[in-house]
Amino acid sequence: MAELLDALAVALKAGIGFQAVFFALLAIGLNIQFAYTGLLNFGQIAFAMLGGYGIAISVAQWGLPFWVGVLIGIAAAVLLALLLGIPTLRLRADYLAIATIAAAEGLRLTFRSVSATPITAGTRGLSGFSDPFVALAPWDTARRYSLLGTRWSGADLWVTLVGWILVALACLLVWLLVRSPWGRVVKSIREDEDAVRALGKNVYVYKMQALVLGGVLGALGGMVYAVGTASATPDQYQNANTFLAYAALILGGAARVLGPVIGAMLLYFIIQFADTGLRTLIGNGVIPEDLLSATDVAQIRFMIIGLGLILLLIFRPQGIFGDRREVMLDAR
């Protein structure tokens, strides 16, 4: 029983920790792109990687100030969105999907390749770039603090707090946007692109704006993650993370302002609870070692997400808060 409570505490901490912020920001970006505009960005993790590495390379390799690194990360994300959007946004939805997933995998392979090692430090990754940010914390970051029965280091607490402020600002932005004329146009693009075009709107430009905005939010998520873990390695930014963000979005409810946030918190809570719970059950022998070993547990999370996402999309595509009429999306 005590172990179960421990697992719950660990999961609770994960559900409000910076990892949840990471997925929340990624999912808010996807919310704009996928749920409101109908764009299939399957490479959201690439934007996060550019954000994280934007800071890491600027600070650790080039010795630039931290905030310049933030700007470089955002600029890189905007550039990637333009590069991907210009050729594909005029085509059918699945072309963007293929191009983005290819770009994400290609970028990760490039960042971890030998040739890029002088800049990205290869598979080893970069570290030591988050200190200027952690030093801004108004409290003593060397101490540990107690919060809701969980223990936090001062640095984690600071990154997480700033992360949630970012999430709140992003939600406010989305809330304002979807109530604006811009929001009505992108939603109509999702419903019927030709009708919008017939009304004289430049569909291509609106789609591009949505892609850039969502990509920048993804980059911010990547920054929170890189600063939170105090390191940037290419394999942190595996392709599967994009789909964890999709799972968060769909679980919470697509095309709802707070859907992706609630989804990300719940998702990370579930993942961590399953993780810790399974490890505990294996540890005290309830699950026999030869059925499932402790090293397999890390894979189980992706299986849970995969299965959960399939079931959600089939039986409850609107998630927890969504509106079914709004999420019956279809490719043109």
Binding site: I98, G106, V114, L309
Partner: protein, 420 residues
Amino acid sequence: MIALRLLLVALFTAGLAALSPGVASAEGGAEQVSGTLRTSLSGPIEGVEVVVTTPDGDEVGTAETDENGRFVVDLPGPGEYTVTVPEDSLPEGVEFNSGNSRTVTVDPGRNQGVIIGLDDGSRNAGGGTIRWVELLVSGLRFGLLIAMAAIGLSLIFGTTGLVNFAHGELVTIGAIVAWFINVGGGVPLIAAALLAMLVGAGIGALNEVGLWRPLRGRGTGLVAALVISIALSLLLRYLYQVVYGGRSNAYADYRGQRTVDYGAFSMTNKDLTSMVVALVVLVLVAVMLQRTTIGKAMRAVSDNRDLAASSGIDVNRVILVVWMVGGALAALGGVLLGLSDEVQWDMGFRLLLLMFAGVTLGGLGTAYGALVGSIVVGVFVQMSTLVIPNDMKYVGGLLLLIVILIVRPQGILGSRARIG
């Protein structure tokens, strides 16, 4: 000349542990990984820091190689570990053969040898082979493998409109099933490959009957179907990793073949055979599409589904056959890929993006387009290593994909109408 090709070697020293097993197992926790870094030109490589991590990325320990190029790292216990040699630590002229890390499973009380293949470039030092011809031939072989896997992908898209992101998992299952039958069951690889094709066809049919047909019946949109297929891919891929493990393994047959010299290029017999097999199978598929009733029906459904249905073609049956043929071809492609590289849990997913590149280049939804496009992509990926480093060659393929989308999104054989 044969010996000149790939004079690579990283030796391993599991034998040393066998000399003192009594002491090790008495303590109950003397698991180690060890290996040696050396090549024939550079000799032993000294002073390289080798890093051992858990699959989650936590560092377990590091060790520097000694004057014999040897390293030993003590482990906290049995389990799966990744041994990594930092990419920039090798001396001038020595490169990794296929990646700078290996994942191994260490049994209790064992010293597990680790082989990290190194290439000192001595294959270019002599011999009659011309590098670009060699790459062209290996590119053709790779392209034929991509084509075999991609034809199913393209036909499924053509007949149902589904972009199946879980198609790579059909490739992987073929390779893994054949590995279990071949290595576990002791069945010769050729028989195992045929069984794997049957399993692949079965899983293709299961995909259609168990998932996609009911979803079409519910009127699930194409975008939702796309996300479902990618979730399915996630589920299957990590299921494979749990069942099969994170290691890469070779088949029991046709190991360690020497290359045969053909003048301008050289290749192993197994590579030559898989090229021939792929060619024959692809010709058979083409004949089937061209001559048989079901093949004509497939092309008809692909071309215009409603028209095909109204001319009396049983569309659901045709789609089922497409899934079965696609599954069997993907499985065979997986076996051949596992034969030339090794069997890995995510091999199909890594191939998937190149399949997309091939299918997009050829024209989404056309069977012959997938064939032509895949071969171009295979050749492009292999020959790009003339200009870019070996570990970047997949990036070249992915860049090609994006360039195709800019220049000619409908592909070589596709029609404008499809791309919206």
